[in-house]
Symmetry: C2
Subunit: 412 residues, 2 copies
Amino acid sequence: MGTNVEQKAFTIVENGTIVTPRGFTAGGLHCGLKKTSRNDIGAIRCDVPATAAAVYTTNVFQAAPLKVTRESLSNGRLQAVIVNSGNANACTGQQGEEDAYAMRTAAARELGVAEEDVAVASTGVIGELLKMDAVHSGISGLPAHMGKEEEEAEHFSQAILTTDLVKKEACVAVEVNGKTITIAGAAKGSGMIHPNMATMLAFMTSDAVIGAEALQRLLRQATNHTFNMITVDGDTSTNDMLVAMSSGLAGNEELTVEHPDWKAFAAGFTYVCEVLAKAIARDGEGATKLVEVQVTGAVSDESAQAIAKTVIGSSLVKSAMFGADANWGRIIAAVGRAGQPVNPETVDIRLGDISVLAQSRPVVFDEEAALAYLQTDTVRIVVDLHHGKGTATAWGCDLTYDYVRINAAYRT
Amino acid sequence: MGTNVEQKAFTIVENGTIVTPRGFTAGGLHCGLKKTSRNDIGAIRCDVPATAAAVYTTNVFQAAPLKVTRESLSNGRLQAVIVNSGNANACTGQQGEEDAYAMRTAAARELGVAEEDVAVASTGVIGELLKMDAVHSGISGLPAHMGKEEEEAEHFSQAILTTDLVKKEACVAVEVNGKTITIAGAAKGSGMIHPNMATMLAFMTSDAVIGAEALQRLLRQATNHTFNMITVDGDTSTNDMLVAMSSGLAGNEELTVEHPDWKAFAAGFTYVCEVLAKAIARDGEGATKLVEVQVTGAVSDESAQAIAKTVIGSSLVKSAMFGADANWGRIIAAVGRAGQPVNPETVDIRLGDISVLAQSRPVVFDEEAALAYLQTDTVRIVVDLHHGKGTATAWGCDLTYDYVRINAAYRT
C-alpha cells in the first residue's frame, strides 16, 4: 500500500530512532508503576533547548499532565519529555495536578534542564493517584540510563507502551541547503483498551533549524492527515498527546513555509506521522489487518475526510473486513450517513483493484478474487464519489472476536 | 426500568395489535422472496382513507419504495401499506423504481383503494432486483388473508421481520372527550445485519380524528425521543421508514395541539414508539441486554441527546456492558468526546443506583453489587452533568461475540 506523501523528497533511515537526529538522548526503565517488570518510565532529552510544538486530545476531560505540558510549551521551547505508563494521572483532581508538577520538577533536576522546558505525559489506568515514590525513584535512576544508542531508544519506546503489541517507530532524512536533516518519531497506542485507556502518545525529534510557529503549524497539518485519520474504535482518551522537538543542530537555514526545501521537510515530517499512525491502526486491539479507506471526488477535502472516517468507523464495515466479506452495501450505507454532499447516482466502490459498485449500481465481480484480497493483512477500500475534487485517506482495522474479548474481560 | 412518558394518561392494551384500532385489517403470507417459508409480504388496510404521516431514513441513498411512499403521502392521506421483506429494492436504479410503482399499483387494485393512497416499504438484501412474479402472486393472494383477528395481525408482523428474533408490538388506549381512542404499532429491526441491512420499519395505527399536520408533527417529535435515540451499531439503512395512519373512526373532537386531551394522546402515542424502539434495541444483533443511558444536567435537551447517543454508541462502553464491567472511565471518556459543553469537575455517574463517580472523582463502590447489577438483562447508566437542565435518554445494547460472528459471517 503506497503512502500518501511524496517519497522522493526524503529517504527512509532504516533502524533510525528518536535519538538519530542530532542532539537527542533517551532512556527508560522499570520503576514499579506497571505490575509486570516492563519499563514504565522514560525520558527524551535534548542537548540544547529545542523548538517545540504539541497537539492534545480534544476530550473535555484532560488529564493533569496535559495542563503541565501546555504550560511548559507556552514559550515554544522544550528540552526534555518525561513519560510514565501504568497510570494516566487522569480524574485525579488537585493531587493529580500536584503530582504532575512534581514529576516535572524531579525530571528537570535529574536531567539538568529548566523546569519550564520539561513536558510531562502519562498513560495507563485512570482515577488512581500516581505512586509518587516509584515515580521519584524512577526519575532518579533515569540519568544513568540515558544515551544515544539504539538500545536506549528502545528502552524509551518500551516505557511508553501499555497493551501495544509492537513498537511504532520511523525515521527519515531530508536535504535542506545541502545539509542532511533527520526526523524521527516513536508512538504508542492500540485503541482505548485494558488497563483502561490506551492513550495515543507520539514523540517526534528532529535536528532542523525551524521556528516554533512553523513547527506547530506543520505538526497540526500533519496530524490532521495522519493521526486524526485513524480510528480503532472511535473513542478518544483523556491523555492523547503528540510532542515534537527540533534541536536546530543540523545548522540549516531556518525552515519557513517560504523556504524552497519546506515541501521536502514537510513531506518527510508527514511521512513519519503517517507511518506511526498506520502502525497504531494496524495494532488496534484484536485487529488482524490494516484497513485503508480512500475517498476521492468529494466536494472538498474536509468532506472526503468526514466520509472516510465514517466508513472506517462503521462496526458493520469493520466486521465485514474481519470476515473477508465484499459487502459493499455496508460501505455505501456508511457513505450515505456521513452527512456530506453525495450524488446517490454516481458512486464507485473498489476493494483494492476489484470494482464492486460503479455509478451506484452493483458490478458482477469475481467473489473468489475478492475473498482472497480481503484475506490479506492490508486492505484498501476506494470510494470515488464523482462529485468534486476533495480527497482523503483514513486508516483503521477490523472488528474481531478478540476486540470483544479484550474489552469485555477487563476488571471482572 | 420505567418509561419516560406519563403513564397515567393512557392504559396499556394487553395483546393489542395494529388491527385493534377501529377500521384496520392486516395480513401476510409467503410469496417466495425469502428463501425460507417465512412470510415475506404483508399489508395493512384501512376501511376509510386515513390521515397519515411518515418519517424516513436520512441516508443519502434512499431505496426506491421511499420515493413512492413520499409521493403517496404528499396529500397527508393513506388507505393501505404494502410491505415486503427479503429484498430491499435499494441500489436498483430505474428498474427498481418501476418495480416499486408496480407494487403500489397491484396493491391498490387487489385491496380496492386508490393508488395514491398506498405506501410501499421494503427490507432485505440490497442491489438485487425484486422478483416481481413472486411479488405479484403475493399481492394477489393478500385479500384472502386480510382480517381483524390477532392471528392476521401476527401474519403481518411476521412478514416484516428479517433477522429479528422477536416481534415488536405495542397498543394503548386513551380517553378523549369520553371516547376511547386506541393507538397501536408494529416494528422490525435489529441492527443492520444479514442479509445485508436490517432496515428499521414501524407502522402505527390509530382511530383518532386528527389532522395530517398534527399527526406529522407528533410523529416527528415522538421519533426524536424514541426511534432516533436507539442505536445498535450506529449504522442507518437506506430503507428506514415509519408510517402512521389514523382512521378517525373513534369519532372524537379533532385532536389538535390545543385540545385539552392532546397531552394524553401524545403520551400514549410516544409510549407506543418507546416500547417499539426499546424492543428493537434489546433485539440488537448478538445483544444479551438492553442498555439505557440517561443524561441529566446538560445545557439543553439537544446537548443531552448528543451525549447520551455518544455513550450508548461507544464500542468500549458496549463491550464493558457485555463483560458486566463497571468501567466508568470509558463512560466519562465518551461523555468528554461528544463535542458538548461539559464541566469536567462536576460529573456524576451511576450504574443503576450504584454511584461510581461523584463530582468527577472516583467513588469506592461495592464491586460485587455492581457486577450483579450489570449481569441483569436491563442496565441503566445515569450521567448527571450538573451543568444545566437538559435531559435525554438513549437506548442500545451490548457488543458481543455474537455481533461479530453474525456480521463477519455474511456471504462468505
